[in-house]
């Protein structure tokens, strides 16, 4: 069993299925009038974000609070860390406040792994540089399984800035564990030819070809504030050749559409597609809560406690 959630690479499939099973139970809690099962009462969760984030942090916060944990949010601007304190000292300081869990986002790959050396809290990687975003991948896979039942042999296309995407990496490692056939599409600067052999995926630079037999498409955000902009001439050109719109989907109208958000409507995805019947984008957000509750329970819950008893006891 994992002691931190740093990556999807080292996750055992049975462990993932256990997280999914519990997420299904937690999903039901979210529809209750009283959304609270204090299974993590007395636990302290810190969310420490060195990069701005609204949705991911809010999702972790609601997930923790729904389970009765105390959640404290810290935003640490990276400019202030540059003034003096090292990430090591920041973590040692936070650790002295006795958190049970630290949810961290940082602009540098592998920083969450690094801080496990300086804290006894469970670490959840909420995004490290261009490396991984494992809770996003878990909620994506969970959402896909809700629809397909089994991912074995399913063709999942990841479209966009794979080079700089932590969502893409975590998804690729995880979806392959389920036997899904992963393909990547984008311009050759953002979807490098080396990915094909190194990651055992299919690489497409032609969007129409990539879409033709896909069962689901995960559209990535073009992060204008990040390196992506340096690897494409301009957003207009990107949008023309790699933007997902309904015309592109004429020959594959059943394909499911996902997006980790926040979307650049009209850039990587058209409103028609984002709001269409096949879009699971809102479902992803709700599933994200359940998955994050399940992750907290997995890392912090007393395994002796029966989750079903808790669910029954607090169902008023």
């Amino acid at each position: 069993m994992i002691s931190h959630l740093l990556s999807t690479k080292n996750l055992d499939l049975n462990e993932v299925l256990e997280i999914f099973d519990n997420a299904r139970r937690f999903l039901e809690v979210l529809d209750r009038p009283t959304k609270k099962i204090p299974i993590l009462k007395g636990k302290l969760i810190l969310t420490v974000f060195f990069e701005p984030s609204t949705r991911t942090r809010t999702s972790f916060e609601i997930a923790g609070k729904t389970l009765g944990a105390d959640v404290v949010n810290l935003s640490i601007s990276q400019s202030s860390t540059k003034k003096g304190e090292t990430i090591k000292d920041t973590c040692l300081t936070l650790n002295a406040m006795k958190p049970d869990c630290i949810v961290i986002r940082h602009s540098v790959s592998k920083i969450p792994d690094y801080i496990t050396n300086f804290t006894s809290a469970k670490i959840i990687n909420a995004g490290d540089g261009s490396n991984e975003h494992p809770s996003q991948a878990l909620l994506d896979a969970f959402t896909l399984i809700q629809h397909f039942g089994d991912l074995s042999g399913k063709k999942i296309l990841i479209l966009g800035d794979v080079l700089n995407s932590r969502v893409a990496r975590s998804n690729i490692w995880l979806l392959k564990k389920f036997g899904a056939k992963v393909s990547l599409c984008g311009p050759s600067t953002l979807v490098r030819e080396e990915f094909e052999n190194e990651w055992d995926v299919n690489v497409y630079w032609d969007l129409d070809k990539a879409i033709s037999d896909a069962n689901a498409i995960i559209v990535l955000r073009i992060q204008l504030e990040r390196a992506a902009s340096a690897w494409i001439p301009n957003t207009r050109e990107y949008s023309i050749f790699y933007g997902l719109n309904s015309k592109r989907l004429v020959n594959n109208s059943s394909v499911l559409i996902m997006h980790p958000g926040p979307m650049n409507r009209g850039l990587e995805i058209s409103s028609e597609v984002a709001d269409g019947d096949n879009a699971l984008i809102r479902k992803q957000v709700t599933n994200g809560l359940a998955i994050r509750m399940s992750i907290f329970y997995h890392l912090l819950g007393h395994k002796a406690d029966n989750i079903v008893e808790h669910l029954d006891k607090n169902n008023e």
Binding site: K110, I111, Y114, G129, S130, N131, W199
Partner: protein, 434 residues
């Protein structure tokens, strides 16, 4: 008489010969070869099949951090580290604070600093003022004060300045050393661009960052016919330009660090700051090809690129920690362990790469065992194994990439100009500690 007899010891020389020889070392550091001897005349006798005497090594690429960064290294710690590694002469790079870009600072290093050094320091002067790549430094004046060569090491020489400098050095037959890197292509990269950088989404340094600069440098060396030395090569892709340059008779020489012959991005922990160096450790094939290039004479010299930093700096996370790792103490032991003991090269090769070629290229003396002369040599014992641990480092930076590894061939004693500048505590027990 405090004389020590070295009895029937295997000694290697810079003409690449070797022979068993007996010699006496007196308390003033004088060496006398002996045909016959009476053991009772000597205070201690060093004898044994496994002892080997070697010429003092030259390190053409060292950062002593003097002046201005003595928290990282100073001349006492740095020169003792060199002595511990069997090095008698070292070139110090000018990227200090302030930059060594004028005759006054060169003179300070040659005279004042050298006085506190246990071995010989040769300063390299900056090619451009403050290493900004905008205007030439006073190369001729620095040369007169004793600068051995010129480099903007730490960064590449800008194209315009490199061309001017190469033409200008004809005046006094100087040598320019370039750090071949296209900073635009490196673009803040942290590790070699390859499988690992792609897997973890880490900012990376492509091999072409070095290759395009080597190509540029060779083109300018061809145009000017001047002497150009390329520092710390890291990728096999740079070698073809140097091979052609040599075939065409250009004055182009080059070096590789010992670490780049041993480590690659797959056999290290890339997030361990002990392995964060620039140029980065690249691929296994690069390691092999660089070594083959030494064997084939395409690359001339092995250096350390000893680049010490403080513990506080190296403790930072891998993205913030500075590039550089110490190398003076371990250079010979690493070469001996990884290459000589594995029959990939012989001691004569190491003498070629770290004694003879530096002497030829930079016109500096060879320091080796000679009859009726002051002692200049180091001695090691084959098959004597050392566990590399922080305590054995004289450098202020003890975070060696070889920590916790077992190496053979560490020098047991080093003599420079008749003076014992390093001695292992278990060797020559009758001789007082330094």
């Amino acid at each position: 008489m405090d004389k020590i007899l070295y009895k029937n010891i295997l000694a290697y020389f810079s003409d690449l010969s070797s022979k068993r020889i007996s010699f006496c070392l007196d308390s003033l550091g004088n060496v006398n070869f002996l045909d016959s001897f009476d053991i009772s005349d000597y205070k201690e006798v060093i004898e044994g099949e496994d002892f080997v005497v070697m010429p003092l090594l030259t390190d053409v690429h060292t950062h002593m951090r003097v002046p201005g960064q003595e928290e990282k290294e100073d001349i006492v710690s740095g020169s003792r580290a060199a002595a511990r590694g069997g090095i008698g002469q070292a070139f110090t790079m000018p990227n200090t604070k302030p930059v060594v870009d004028n005759a006054y600072l060169v003179d300070y290093l040659v005279n004042s600093v050298n006085k506190n050094s246990s071995m010989k320091i040769y300063p390299v002067g900056a090619v451009s003022r403050n290493q900004l790549g905008e205007e030439l430094s006073p190369l001729l004046e620095m040369k007169q004060s004793g600068a051995i060569a010129f480099s903007d090491d730490g960064r590449p020489i800008t194209t315009n300045i490199l061309r001017k400098a190469l033409i200008y050095t004809k005046t006094f037959d100087g040598i320019i050393i370039d750090h071949p890197e296209d900073a635009v292509l490196s673009d803040g990269g942290l590790i070699h661009e390859g499988r690992l950088s792609r897997t973890y989404g880490i900012k990376s340094i492509p091999y072409t960052s070095e290759e395009v600069c080597v190509a540029r440098d060779v083109a300018l060396a061809r145009e000017t016919k001047s002497k150009l030395h390329l520092a710390h090569l890291s990728t096999r892709h740079s070698l073809k330009y140097i091979e052609i340059a040599k075939e065409d008779g250009l004055n182009v020489t080059s070096e590789v660090t010992v670490n780049h012959l041993i480590f690659n991005c797959e056999n290290i922990s890339i997030f361990d700051t002990k392995f964060k160096v620039n140029p980065p450790f690249r691929e296994e094939e690069d390691m092999y090809e660089l070594f083959n290039a030494l064997k084939n004479g395409i690359v001339d010299i092995i250096c350390t690129d000893h680049a010490p930093h403080t513990l506080e700096e190296k403790e930072l996370d891998y993205s913030q920690s500075p590039f550089g790792t110490p190398g003076l103490e371990t250079v010979f032991a690493a070469l001996y362990t990884y290459f000589v003991m594995n029959n990939k090269c012989c001691l004569e090769d190491i003498i070629k790469w770290m004694v003879v070629n530096p002497s030829k290229i930079f016109s500096i003396p060879i320091l080796e065992l000679q009859n009726n002369s002051k002692a200049n040599f180091f001695i090691f014992k084959k098959n004597e194994e050392f566990l590399v641990e922080p305590g054995m480092f004289f450098s202020k930076c003890k975070l060696s990439p070889f920590l916790d590894k077992k190496l053979f061939g560490f020098p047991l004693a080093t003599f420079y100009n008749g003076k014992m500048i390093y001695k292992d505590e278990n060797f020559m027990k009758t001789v007082k500690e330094m």
